[in-house]
């Protein structure tokens, strides 16, 4: 058993309101630079939709991630030694700027500095790359709230195995059937980007598992851009180096939550430590398609287990880290309650960012109602809405809606469980059971018997349901982000003798002081 610690994350999609505050926070801190204008280390996608870069999930186009070999092992789909050599002068599967979007701004100064004329001045859009006026073709989340347009939502790669009829059913209600999918680097346990880098510039930090690109070593091969199936490694055209989400490690080391998580308005993000068995990573990554998630969750270890604690200590995991692992909200969501799932586990990178699948708008229905009575009561000059649709989240039968859901189960399963619908059903039952239980507690209009059946069906106790509710709806800052002390000094001491540099940093002069006149 090779126990290591990993900073892992959970995003609770039912809470995401799609406000993009996380993206802006990240952009302001890290990617508001020349060459990085088009990068969104954190982006929020609207699903169904094609995402950013367009159709990133379609590995037939971008050749990211791992694929299973005939001998049971795994191989990089678009990179590796042979492919690297044969494509040494030309990396053929890269997304181009038009697959992301050409970043732009507006010439706002024209609005106030234009000379007097016949027409109102306008602020023309200009490219942030060339500085020339452009026609805006796309933005970083062009399908934001446009779900249902033929060009975006209908081209979602996750529809590959969903029949035309099922798709039609979804798109009849297109204006409301959507949810948000915020994405950052998954800081995977089996990162394809690290494996693909010919320069060895990408590494997974030993003490917390953050995946980083060494800017000094990067040689612009861009194999990581191809290899990352989530397209979360970006090439900076100005510096000639690739960049990616660094999980705000300077903040984490200082005990602060990453900027995207700190600023999250819906408080959907959780961050904490997981302990995992590094010796079983290969087995988990090579698991059969139908067993992928189970084997990934299997290598995550119980931080309360004495054996695990002993092995962890032997491996140099600090007690503070173990303590953080025991309080980790991630461990609760992923292992204890089994509510969260990794995004696209079929890419076999063992992502360490987990998502609680969204229950809404999935479970809601739209009904036709007659609202004429209400309309008559309104003042004659009041605006009258002529649509007669009612967005209804109440249910008559407890599990009835699960079979009549507006999103085919398969769609969510394609995203979070490599197509395993039962797994999604299980999570939804739990989420629904928590709601029904809490309705009983707070409103009390549901019979005890019905609640008990629901909880039993979902396989959780009332206490667990309360705990889930508490961590979902009421968590404080310290409960959402359990960040262990970084122990950077220990990590540095493994590589360098700190005595050598004692006195070099800190208060003093950057250049030698010049004496005399």
């Amino acid at each position: 058993m090779d126990v290591r610690s990993q900073i892992a994350m959970v995003f609770h999609l039912d809470k995401c309101i799609g406000c993009h505050t996380c993206s802006i926070a990240c952009k302001n801190i890290w990617t508001d630079r020349k060459g990085a204008e088009y990068m969104w280390w954190n982006n929020v996608e609207t699903k169904p939709g094609t995402g950013y870069p367009t159709k990133w999930e379609d590995q037939g186009i971008y050749k990211g991630g791992w694929e299973k070999k005939w001998d049971g092992g795994i191989d990089l789909k678009g990179a590796g030694k042979r492919r690297g050599l044969t494509n040494i002068f030309y990396n053929p599967n890269l997304p181009v700027i038009d697959d992301y979007y050409e970043p732009f701004t507006y010439k706002y100064l024209d609005l106030i500095e234009s000379p007097e004329g016949e027409d109102q001045p306008t602020a023309r859009p200009v490219s942030l790359i060339t500085g020339e006026p452009i026609d805006i073709k796309m933005g970083p989340n062009w399908d934001d709230d446009l779900s249902g347009t033929p060009d975006y939502a209908r081209n979602d790669p996750n529809f590959s195995n969903i029949s035309q009829e099922e798709q039609e059913v979804m798109f009849q209600l297109e204006k409301m059937a959507l949810f948000y999918l915020p994405r950052i680097c998954n800081h995977c346990l089996n990162p394809a980007c690290v494996a693909s880098c010919p320069s060895g510039a990408i590494y997974k930090r030993g003490e917390d598992g953050v995946v980083l690109i060494n800017q000094e070593v990067c040689r612009a091969w861009r194999m990581c851009v191809t290899a990352c199936p989530y397209k979360k490694s970006y090439y900076n055209w100005h510096t000639g180096k690739s960049e990616k989400c660094i999980l705000c490690y300077p903040r984490i080391e200082a005990g602060l939550a990453p900027a995207c998580m700190h600023s999250c308005v819906g408080r959907i993000r959780y961050l904490g430590v997981l302990l995992y068995d590094a010796s079983r990573i290969e087995d988990a990554a090579c698991a059969d398609d139908n067993n992928l998630i189970n084997s990934q969750l299997d290598i995550i270890l119980d931080p309360f287990d004495e054996e695990v604690i002993k092995a962890a200590r032997k491996n140099g995991v600090a007690d503070s880290t173990l303590h953080a692992a025991q309080n980790s909200p991630i461990y609760k969501f992923v292992k204890e309650w089994k509510l969260a799932l990794p995004l696209h586990p079929e890419f076999r990178t063992l992502p360490m960012l987990f998502y609680v699948p969204p229950l809404l708008p999935v479970m809601a229905t739209v009904k036709k109602t007659d609202q004429s009575e209400q309309m008559d009561k309104m003042h004659p000059i009041a605006k009258k809405w002529e649509d007669n649709w009612l967005y209804d989240t109440s249910t008559e039968e407890l599990w009835g809606t699960l079979d009549q859901i507006r999103f085919p189960l398969k769609y969510i399963a394609n995203l979070f469980s490599a197509g395993d619908e039962e797994l999604i059903k299980e999570k939804w039952k739990k989420l629904m059971a928590v709601r029904i239980h809490r309705r009983k507690v707070t409103v009390g209009d549901i019979s005890d018997e019905k609640v008990a059946t629901t909880l039993r069906d979902a396989g959780i106790t009332a206490e667990e349901a309360d705990a889930i509710y508490a961590l979902t709806s009421l968590p404080k800052f310290e409960e959402r982000f359990v960040i262990p002390a970084a122990h950077r000094e220990q990590a540095i001491e493994m590589m360098d003798f700190t005595g050598d540099t004692k006195g070099d940093a800190g208060f003093g002069f950057k250049k030698p002081v010049q004496r005399g006149i």
Partner: protein, 277 residues
């Protein structure tokens, strides 16, 4: 006394006559030497151009005047005989002489006529001193300066020899100049400067006889040592080989990367979008 006076008078007149005659003859001879002799002899055999002995019998005076003033226009006008001379003499065009007046050309014809009657030895060919090809090479390349500060030959000319970076491409490649023009022709060109551009460059900086001999010796050596067809053949092989190689590589690459991502994923969408001008 009367007889004496008469005699004196006659002699005087005759002298004046002969003197003016010799004067005319002298200027024609000088013109011939400076303008024609580089390429032509009178009875001395062909050099670059044909032997001009008795040229007055072969053509009308009018034709010769026209030809001397601009041989090109005569050839272009479709004169078959002019064309046959042009072809017979390695297609070296005779330079135009627009500065010669009709009278001067006629004088030249007269001069040739008188000279043709004499035995060919009377126009002594200027004997050049023995040339040193090594010194000629240094002069050509510009390592040694010409006595009268003329420009080094390789500013405009190239020769194709081992161990020498190529010279200028402004004027003719001189690798096989001797084969084309003969050694006498080459030295004649260097000393006589029949070509307008050469004249422009070297009239004020004449090449000395010794230097002419050295350069000629060098060019003779180059001509002998360099295979006649080497340059042109290698050039065409290289071109054909290069083009074939390129085509093969392009075919190979197009198979190699046949599955590459050629366009943005949203290309059809972008194509449909309305664009501003």
């Amino acid at each position: 006394m009367k007889i004496t006076l008469h005699y004196v008078l006659v002699t005087l007149i005759m002298h004046v006559f002969t003197f003016s005659n010799t004067l005319a003859q002298d200027s024609d001879s000088a013109t011939f030497k400076s303008v024609c002799a580089a390429c032509h002899t009178i009875g001395g055999g062909k050099l670059i151009g044909p032997d001009l002995v008795n040229v007055q019998d072969r053509h009308t005076e009018e034709w010769i005047v026209k030809f001397v003033k601009s041989s090109q226009s005569v050839i272009k006008a479709g004169d078959k005989y002019a064309d046959s001379i042009y072809k017979a003499y390695n297609q070296v065009l005779m330079p135009d002489h627009p500065n010669l007046t009709d009278a001067q050309v006629k004088g030249l014809i007269a001069f040739i006529k008188t000279q043709s009657a004499l035995p060919p030895t009377t126009i002594a060919k200027t004997e050049l001193p023995q040339g040193n090809s090594n010194r000629g090479r240094e002069l050509f390349v510009g390592n040694i300066r010409f006595m009268n500060n003329g420009a080094a030959c390789n500013s405009c000319h190239n020769v194709n020899i081992k161990g020498y970076m190529s010279g200028g491409a402004l004027a003719k490649d001189l690798t096989h100049a001797v084969s084309r023009l003969s050694a006498e022709g080459v030295s004649g060109v260097i000393s006589g400067l029949p070509f307008p551009q050469m004249k422009e460059s070297y009239a004020a900086h004449p090449v000395t006889e010794q230097e002419t001999a050295d350069l000629t010796a060098f060019l003779v050596k180059v001509d002998k040592e360099t295979p006649l067809t080497a340059t042109s053949k290698v050039g065409s092989y290289l071109l054909i080989g290069g083009i074939t190689g390129l085509v093969i590589l392009l075919i190979l690459y197009s198979f190699f990367w046949i599955k590459r991502k050629k366009r943005p994923v949203n290309f059809p969408v972008f194509k449909r979008q309305i664009k501003s001008d």
